[in-house]
């Protein structure tokens, strides 16, 4: 074990001990924060997956990804508004239908949007200087934010509260408030991540994606269609981000055009934390960062949360640059 690893695990251990102490002293408050953290973390995990997959395959920090996430929430809010039968006051069958239709539609639209972005802004620059696609990624981020800004202006946008909520759908266990929404977020994210894992490990396309991430030239020689594989990666990343946006919208019920910027940075941090390019790592990293943010909000003060999260980011890279589970990026 290297010095860096030692330092890393020492910090993790200290954090765990401090948290354990808090858990013993104020168990219900601790559990409450845990619930919030898990829900946030689940969403970060969904967004982080897109960053990590794209970075793993073409080594690009896709700055537009956070905005794809937000756009998913915007599109979802618009579609859900069409379901006149659905109600925000009580959970009707119409709500269920609206959700069952909106989710896949949003996910597909976001996938299509991201494929278009890749086709227009990244693919032509695949052999250009390394910074060129980074700048177009930033440009695309501004463009998407610009579209949402043009669409609804600077104000917050309301997302219909279609999930079951209110008196019948929440409970207090041992002083810990848990609502249906909290459970929904975690379970939905878990299902999506599991589906992704099955897809990546089991399907032919998943295999092609892993091969391309390992060595693009060799994969091409083996007959893998690189363009299609990369496009598929963007598609899947955006599907997850779209779902994440929907879940975020349904959970918090308000969104703004620039939500994706901060969420994107945090999600990207999660991806690095888990080991960039590593899919289980991104999921785990998202959960850890979500929990960290919740604990920091509660015990240190929310104004310090950003400093804590990015401090962790720097710490991880200094002490253990491969992240929690090890990075997987193309070999040079």
């Amino acid at each position: 074990m290297s010095v860096g690893d030692l330092g890393f695990f020492l910090i993790v251990a200290i954090a765990l001990v401090l948290l354990a102490g808090e858990a013993v002293a104020h168990p219900s408050q601790f559990a409450q924060v845990l619930v919030f953290g898990l829900a946030d973390g689940a969403i970060y995990a969904l967004v982080a997956l897109g960053y990590t997959m794209v970075y793993g395959i073409i080594e690009l920090i896709n700055f537009a990804h956070g905005d794809v996430f937000t756009l998913g929430a915007y599109v979802g809010a618009t579609i859900m508004a069409f379901f006149a039968g659905a109600s925000e006051d009580s959970f009707l069958v119409a709500n269920l239908i609206a959700l069952l239709i909106t989710f896949p539609v949003v996910m597909l639209i976001m996938g299509a949007v991201n494929i278009t972005i890749e086709r227009v802004a990244y693919r032509p620059l695949r052999n250009a200087p390394r910074l060129a696609p980074l700048i177009t990624a930033i440009g695309m981020s501004f463009l998407l934010e610009g579209i949402m800004f043009l669409w609804h202006g600077p104000a917050t946008v309301h997302v219909p509260d279609l999930l079951p909520h209110g008196a019948g759908f929440q409970t207090t266990i041992g002083g810990v408030f848990i609502s249906f929404k909290d459970v929904f977020v975690v379970i939905a994210a878990a299902i999506l991540v599991t589906l992704l894992a099955i897809f990546i490990n089991g399907s032919k396309l998943g295999k092609a994606m892993r091969a391309t991430a390992q060595d693009r030239d060799a994969s091409q020689l083996m007959g893998i269609n690189i363009n299609r594989t990369i496009a598929a990666t963007f598609f899947i990343g955006a599907v997850l981000a779209g779902a994440g946006g929907m879940i975020w919208g349904l959970y918090f019920n308000t969104i703004t055009y620039n939500l994706g910027f901060r969420t994107g940075l945090v999600a990207f941090t999660s991806a690095v934390f888990g080991g960039i390019g590593n899919i289980p790592g991104a999921a785990l990293g998202g959960m850890v960062i979500g929990l960290t943010a919740a604990f920091s909000d509660n015990y240190i003060g929310s104004k310090w949360t950003q400093v804590v999260i990015f401090g962790i980011l720097i710490g991880v890279l200094v002490f253990r640059p491969t992240g929690l589970l090890g990075m997987r990026v193309p070999e040079k």
């Binding site: 910074l131 700048i135 579209i147 104004k303 720097i314």
Partner: protein
Amino acid sequence: MSEPTTVKKPGSLWARLHLRERIKDRDTAIYGVLLVVVLVWPMSTYYATGSSFLTSQAAHAGTWVLLAIGLNVVVGFAGLLDLGYAAFFAIGAYCYALFASFQLQSSPLHHAYHLPFWLMLFVGMFVAAAAGAILGFPTLRLRGDYLAIVTLGFGEIVPQLFLNLDQWTGGINAIGSIDQPSLPGWITGPWAGATSIAILPNFNFSYDPTAYYVLVVIMIIIAVVLVTNLHRSRLGRAWMAIREDEVAAAAMGINTVTTKLLAFSIGASFSGFAGAYYGASFGLVSPDSFLFVVSITVLVMVVLGGMGNITGVIVGAIAIYFVLNNVLVSLPTNAESFANAVGLGFITKTNGDWPGLAEEARRLQFLLYGLILVGMMLLRPQGLFPSRVREQELKHDAVVEEETVAEQVPAR
């Protein structure tokens, strides 16, 4: 061995300037045009608009040029991606603002400092360079992209720290009424609204925006000379070698860690220097002036201008500054007056969901900026003015080559 490559040619000063050949050289031509514009700018804009506004705007643009020149050392020369460049800018600005205003009066120190600008310019520079070295030391030995991520994190932390440590920095209230630099004397003239050229004793920079303009131009010229010198030196070549192939560079005996650290710190020092200047010229330092967008904007200036090429970077900085602060800012008013002029006045009014043309144009700014970035990068991935090989005067060498190839017996 053979004689030196550059032969000293006799002749008049005019002949020695090689003006005719130099105009053919793209970069020299750009410098020439820029120099002329810089010289006539204060006078001509004053006559055209009747105010020094454009001169002071140019002085502000100069901050960005300085930033871009500095970031170019990191990104363009050494190939290190720095996404938190604004952090060093913030450090420089706060360095000056804290020690040249009444801010520390209300801090736990209960004592305001008013250190001279000319000193703090260099203090800001060194503090930023030190911060760069501290951040770079543990991270520069890592894979290339990790530096980008670490600097991104650093860039997010620093403004947040200045915001949160409000006991010292005033937080969201920002630091205002920052001391203006002073000089024992200054020349004023028609370019600043004076009727004739006159000498002003005990001059304070708040009297005349041209002073900042002159200062920033001088700083940029010094920066260009120094950076060009570095670029064409042992160190500059080492940076480029690392950018091109780190393994091969190390095999040539280049200590890659210290060389990268030097690039990173020099870049940071530029940012700190520009920050101190910004603090004084803007007179107000607030945590939200140093967000991620600032780092990104400087990066865009560098990449769009032509990484590694100093003239390209300067042009890129000016172009992006112009787009952001003129084209996009004046878009709503321009759109409105255009609509009125062509008889479509009604679309300027709010109507139901339509927020009015001006507001709509304001909302378009973000989108347009994004479009410009994507479009420019797709059209010119190498930037507006990519760097080129600097031609060496080697005419007689090629001849010698023929002889060497012919002879098979080595010289010794």
